[in-house]
């Protein structure tokens, strides 16, 4: 395992040195069903044989992807291009309907507005999250002060999560997700809602994880953030990889097409 000690913004591709694979996707497809809003009439349910208004979404359509340990990969693309579904499949919260995903170790997924329990306070949520991740009660208590300091929510840490702003929730979620020093961290637009100070701290934390050969996938619409944090970027379009390469090159083309 080679630790990437260089600044992430440099153009050195991690693939140049022989490294260990952290994530491997082969012909990955993700389909899931969503139920249309509103109540279905009972009469129609009988006519359609009991089926609800199910709409199938084919979010990821045949992705092949190798990510090295210690690599930080940006994922960009329009809304609905399959970015979150790809992350969900890699985390294992969504299942591949076709193809395979394999990982070095269980990734930690950090979603936007991730709230564990809106009725409970921030500190209770930290405990809940830590225990669900498999830490012991003592381990969580031991780490709690550091987590709370990182989240930097002040007295709000004792207020129910329902009273938090998006940015505050993101701070808490980021703190919980990095609780275990995950080898693979998947971040789904969670940094974007934080303030500048929190983004700076998060980027610092991401670089720390990279130094210990942690692998990071960052979904973001903030291209500066991707540029600062990621050496390599993939561009998703309608569930497929449209482009894959060094961040600066991919971003240049992405921005050129935007106009």
């Amino acid at each position: 395992m080679t630790a990437n000690t260089e600044e992430p913004s440099t153009e050195t591709a991690a693939t140049e040195s022989p490294t260990e694979l952290a994530i491997q996707c082969r012909d990955l497809h993700v389909r899931y069903q969503v139920f249309a809003e509103g109540a279905t009439s009972v009469g129609r349910r009988f006519r359609t044989g009991g089926a609800r208004n199910a709409i199938e979404v084919h979010a990821v359509r045949g992705i092949h992807l190798d990510v090295q340990a210690g690599e930080s990969l940006g994922v960009i693309g329009n809304n609905g291009s399959g970015k979150s579904s790809l992350l969900g499949a890699i985390a294992g919260t969504l299942t591949a309907s076709q193809g395979t995903v394999r990982v070095r170790s269980q990734p930690s997924l950090l979603g936007v507005g991730a709230a564990l329990n809106r009725q409970l306070s921030g500190s209770r949520n930290i405990l809940l999250g830590g225990l669900a991740l498999g830490l012991s009660h003592d381990e969580v208590l031991e780490r709690q002060p550091a987590i709370e300091a990182f989240a930097d929510l002040g007295d709000a840490i004792e207020r129910p999560l329902g009273t938090y702003s998006k940015g505050m929730r993101a701070r808490l979620a980021f703190s919980i997700a990095t609780l275990q020093n995950p080898d693979i961290l998947l971040i789904d637009e969670a940094l974007a809602v934080g303030d500048r100070e929190f983004r700076r701290k998060s980027l610092k934390r991401i670089r720390e994880l990279q130094r210990t050969a942690g692998t990071i996938l960052l979904v973001s619409h903030n291209l500066t953030e991707v540029q600062q944090a990621c050496t390599r970027t993939i561009w998703l379009d309608r569930g497929q990889i449209k482009m894959d390469g060094p961040t600066n090159d991919v971003l240049e083309i992405y921005q050129a097409e935007d106009w």
Binding site: A13, L21, I23, Q24, R26, Y32, Q33, V34, G62, I63, H64, D66, G88, I90, A91, G92, T93, L94, T95, T100, V101, R102, V103, R104, S105, Q106, P107, S108, L109, G111, A114, A115, L116, N117, R118, R124, L128, G129, L131, A132, L133, G134, L135, S136, H137, A173, I176, D237, Q240, I241, K242, M243, D244, G245, P246, D249, E252, I253, A256, E257
Partner: protein, 307 residues
Amino acid sequence: MPMLRRFCGRVYPMQVSARDPDNGGVSLGAHPELAAVDDSLVAPGLQVGVGEYLSQMWARRDYMRHVPSTTLRSRYMNTALGNLWQLLNPLISLGTYFLIFGLVLGTRTGVDDFLPFLTIGIFVYSFTQRATITGSRSITRNKGLVRSLVFPRAILPVTSVVTEWLAFLPGLALAILVSLAWGNYPTLLWLALPLVVLLHMILNIGFALVAARLNDAYRDFEQILPFVFRMVFYGSGVLFAVENVVSESTRRFFLINPLYDVIEVYRWVLLDNTARPAEAVVALAWTAVMTPFGLWFFRRVEPTYAH
């Protein structure tokens, strides 16, 4: 980079497959240079065997241990009497049933020790009822947790059952006190009580697992469940001795009701009046089938719980 701009102008999807050194290492299309399949990698999430799954659950035993007590404490958080309700609640429900069914309607006729008989029936029945109903909501009410973190989801219904088990303990203590007060002195059979409680709890985990999946698929289930339990209530001999109401041959049909069996086993142990070996065997059989089935049934659609 003129080369890149040219590529960009092409019609989607891109068919260029190899990572091309001429264009700065940018590869286009869905097939960049791929490494050989690495067999040391594992599938993410919880697509694991049942043994590994159970050990993952065991690793989260602190969740199942600490969450129930705080849930119970918060249940009465906004009341003036607070935690006292955990004792008052069973006392009041016992008083109500005793008043209506024991004194007014007179179902006590023919039952010795009616009060201990009733106490056991009510609390044993409510443990299963509440464990199943709370368990049915364990996925739907914890969507945030399920969507954010990866962990064996079965710890959620199990946690619900542990919570209701804690709530059941004051009721059980009350049942024991009432039995003692009515002159049922402890026998050797009382030693079997912890085992009976444990098996009862395992059976309830089976019900909770099934209910959790059904309610996640159809929220209607949560609406129907109270009515199902109302029916089961009258078929479980909570308020009356079944043999006083129906003939011995009809009583056999009650045997298939696991809740009737469990209640009768508790009464056998604590009241020591009639031995109920048949009920004990059927209750054991239910437990041995229901809980493994529940786990299998629950896990079959586990990835869909995050939707």
